[in-house]
């Protein structure tokens, strides 16, 4: 009677080990994501493996990466050919070592991507901090996507709700942008909103997918200074954003 089950319940390495130790002549069929592989056992070893057009040891190496899938093991099935000579234990050892190496390389790539992202964020953060030092009455600054989420924020006080400012100003900026477009009044460069307590400047960055937002204290800020530095830093921030 064939043995069948899921690789979730019994690992492929265990299946191979048990079948080899029992000295069985058998065929193990493994299915994973629409693919089907066969492993043939004879005399306590793996003697043949096939996956699509691939045959031999390489198949075992690939199958060791299959953590999920279904299998069934049929006893007394003779191998159609012999493509593997390496003892099963050495074969598994090599395969697992290779699998670990691939996993390590993948994790290194992810780490590199994470490092790139962290470095971009650090550059943007540094520029926003520098910008804050140039602006009189500076309260907060952010680089914000048109989805309303900031990719870098800097505020003089942790109590400043930068996320809230980003979300509200994105909504407002989108309306201003639609209005000027419909009026055929040209492409929007910046918007300066003055309230009793604050001045909020929004300046689009190079590709219009992001903008720089600066909030300054109305009683201390100078609009000319705000517009000048927003222009200078918008250029640098645009360059620091990966495209």
């Amino acid at each position: 009677m064939p043995l069948a089950g899921s690789l979730h319940d019994i690992a492929l390495t265990d299946l191979i080990q048990i079948t080899c130790q029992e000295n069985r002549q058998a065929r193990l069929v493994v299915q994973h994501e629409g693919k089907e592989a066969e492993i043939f056992f004879d005399g306590g070893n793996i003697v043949h493996a096939r996956l699509d057009d691939l045959e031999g040891e390489e198949v075992i190496h690939q199958l060791l990466g299959w953590a999920e899938g279904e299998f069934h093991l049929e006893s007394d099935v003779a191998p159609p050919t012999r493509t593997i000579e390496t003892p099963w234990s050495a074969l598994l050892m090599q395969g697992l070592q290779r699998y670990d190496e691939l996993q390590w390389e993948a994790s290194q790539l992810t780490t590199e991507e994470d490092n790139d992202m962290a470095s971009t964020q650090a550059s943007l953060q540094n520029l926003l901090t520098e910008l804050g030092q140039e602006i009189q009455g500076f309260i907060a600054a952010a680089v914000v996507g048109m989805d309303g989420f900031g990719i870098a924020n800097h505020a003089v006080d942790a109590k400043v709700q930068v996320e809230s400012i980003n979300a509200q100003m994105t909504m407002f900026t989108k309306l201003v942008q639609t209005s000027t477009t419909k009026l055929k009044a040209g492409n929007i460069e910046d918007n300066l909103l003055t309230t009793e307590q604050a001045i909020i400047l929004v300046r689009f960055l190079e590709d219009d997918n992001y903008y720089l937002s600066i909030v300054a204290d109305r009683s201390k800020a100078n609009i000319g200074n705000l517009r000048l530095y927003s222009r200078l830093y918008a250029e640098q921030l645009s360059k620091a954003i990966p495209h």
Partner: protein, 123 residues
């Protein structure tokens, strides 16, 4: 509304060739005075659209607890568009000027003319 139009004409004279449009607008988006000298700048559409912009500005400022909105300035690659609430906020006035205009001067005029315009609106 002749008085309002006279005040806007006076402003237009101060700005010369930099003047593009100016209107006094109710928060329903309908202008009660003013107009555009540039056929490409539709003053009626601008009044309606910027009424929405000013309403949202007031809402945003309220949510962020930044007090009442004074004015808004949009800079495009063609024009500056300034909008400012008048009196109790039931009207606003907007002005469009070319990029050659001296922005500081225009903002100052916006502020100076605000009270005169508010007082000229029949209540």
């Amino acid at each position: 509304m002749a008085k309002l139009d006279d005040i806007i004409q006076e402003l237009r004279n101060e700005l010369g060739s930099d003047f593009v449009a100016a209107s006094v607008v109710g928060m329903d988006g309908l202008a009660i005075a003013g107009g555009s000298v540039d056929p490409e700048f539709d003053a009626t559409a601008a009044s309606a659209r910027f009424a929405l912009v000013m309403k949202l500005a007031a809402k945003v400022s309220g949510k962020l607890q930044l007090g009442q909105v004074d004015d808004n300035l949009v800079t495009t690659d063609r024009v500056f568009i300034l909008t400012r609430f008048l009196g109790d906020g039931s009207y606003y006035w907007e002005m469009a000027v070319t990029k050659d205009a001296t922005l500081g001067m225009v903002r100052m005029l916006m502020n100076e003319y605000a009270d005169r315009l508010w007082n000229a609106i029949p209540h």
